[in-house]
Amino acid sequence: MIDKFAAWLRDSAQVLHDNAAYLTELDSAIGDADHGANLDRGFGAVVAVLDETSFGSVDELLKKAGMTLVSKVGGASGPLYGTFFLRFGTALAGAELTPVSIGEGLRAGVGGILARGKAELGDKTMYDAWAPALDAYDAVVASGGDLEAALTAAAEAAAKGRDATVPLEARKGRASYLGERSVGHQDPGATSTTLLLESAARTLA
């Protein structure tokens, strides 16, 4: 399973690299034009760590990824994604890796995003992608679906949540400074969250 998690992080790094200009473009409209560069730098550093270190457990791997993001990204997305992976890893420590435990881990990670960012649903942040994704994931698992099905459902729900950020007026993050002018633009963080979950659906199951 470690290999799959490592593959997820590597695939995410590639996808974020390929989409860096797009994410920065989205961040130009309602932010400060760095979201793509931030994540590219951070996940690039995660890949470098993966190249150098071998990990004994998934939780170690995720915690290290989280610490690396905290140390390398900065901005809003650094502490948010960093905390996500730290708490995701912490929640998995000692646990058997099942669709349920992974779901609990994801929820713990998103709990970290909430604790740090204090966003609510509809604030036009990455949480607007995470929240429906978690619910969709849990629903699939509850009805007996496997990890791949759960992650696929999560990614699809995230994409819907991402699209739903477009008409919102931002209340958190840098886009909130724009007030009404933030309406009509897609949130960069919700977009990168969707990319991460799409990558998970491809690589983790």
């Binding site: 730098r41 809003a76 997305s77 502490p79």
Partner: protein, 334 residues
């Protein structure tokens, strides 16, 4: 993109090399952690002052390290807040036994990264850390449900005034209380004639037509609250001063420090011309200018435009403002 740079990825580290080379007598730079320190070790018993934020706002913050102002400044990537490791390292290095004040501009990223650093520093080294979060930008509606107002021009004035208080040997509690008071008494508003270009992005953050301006901008190339037709300096001054004055806490008879700040691409000639307009508006409002500051102090790369900051002052704040300061960006009496 037209810039005097090599690789966009190296802009911040190469500029820090330049700062270190240009100020060997006064500054010491930890290039690995991207921290600008005073050359001299912190004086025992003095509260340490650190700040930091995204790069691209120079001279803020690294240019305000030195006697009478900051002890250290952490430089993030362009427009990206620094990471907790940097603030932690700086906090430990400048702790001279009296604790450390973090001066943080109110942006989600800055606040979160400084918060993590403070938690870690307290757990790790037992350093007492207090924070002040500046949020003086009246362009942004304040509310419990939003990220609140941005920290802008007041940050410069606060670093100077609080720096002088720390130099006098005041306690962390006193310094933090003063910092909060300065923040609460200051308000700012900014505008842009042009966008800036983040080196890694390679193109302007927003597009403005020849006859347009953005009013209520931040310092990261965020678009403003309003796009308006280009107007004469006189009207621009009113657009900036009126919302500042109508916000708390200025009134007839008050004394202020009046600060006209350039966003980086506006020549001093125009900033002085703007100061003339601002001074006239203040005069008409019955507000006394105790001190003034005109120039490029908290910038947005090459953005053309300006901001106006008013800080209500009493004799004590004026005395601390006048106290000696010796930094690359602000210097007098030393």
């Amino acid at each position: 993109m037209k810039k005097l740079i090599n690789d966009p990825a190296d802009v911040v580290s190469e500029a820090l090399l330049g700062m270190a080379a240009a100020h060997p007598d006064r500054l010491r730079v930890d290039h690995e952690n991207r921290i600008v320190y005073r050359k001299q070790e912190p004086r025992p018993g003095k509260v340490g002052l650190i700040s930091g934020g995204g790069s691209g706002h120079e001279p803020l913050h690294g240019g305000f390290v030195g006697l009478g102002m900051l002890d250290a400044a952490c430089a993030g990537e362009v427009f990206t807040s620094p990471v907790p490791d940097q603030m932690m390292a700086a906090t430990k290095a400048v702790d001279a036994g009296a604790g450390v004040l973090h001066i943080v501009k109110n942006y989600t990223g800055d606040v979160m990264n400084f918060e993590m650093a403070a938690e870690l520093a307290a757990a790790d080294a037992g350093t007492e850390v207090r924070s002040v979060v500046t949020n003086d930008d009246v362009a942004v509606q304040d509310s419990l449900y939003t990220a609140g107002r941005r920290g802008v021009g007041v940050t410069v004035l606060l670093e100077k005034i609080v720096g002088a208080a720390a130099e006098e040997g005041r306690s962390l509690a006193e310094v933090a209380e003063l910092a909060q008071r300065v923040n609460d008494q200051g308000r700012s508003m900014g505008m842009a004639l042009t966008s800036c270009t983040v080196p890694a992005a390679g193109k302007p953050t927003f597009e403005l037509a020849e006859n347009e301006m953005e009013v209520g901008i931040g310092i990261h190339g965020e678009p403003g609250r309003q796009r308006l037709p280009l107007a004469p300096a006189r009207e621009v001054a009113a657009l900036l001063v009126d919302p500042v004055l109508s916000d708390l806490p200025y009134g007839q008879g008050d004394s202020v420090i009046a600060f006209v700040n350039g966003m980086g691409g506006t020549p001093l000639l125009e900033l002085y011309l703007m100061y003339n307009e601002v001074a006239q508006l203040l005069d008409r409002a019955g507000i006394t200018v105790a001190r003034s500051l005109v120039g490029n102090y908290i910038t947005s790369l090459e953005m053309a435009g300006c901001s106006v900051t008013l800080l209500k002052v009493d004799d004590e704040l004026v005395r601390l403002w006048d106290a000696p300061v010796n930094t690359p960006g602000l210097r007098w009496g030393a």
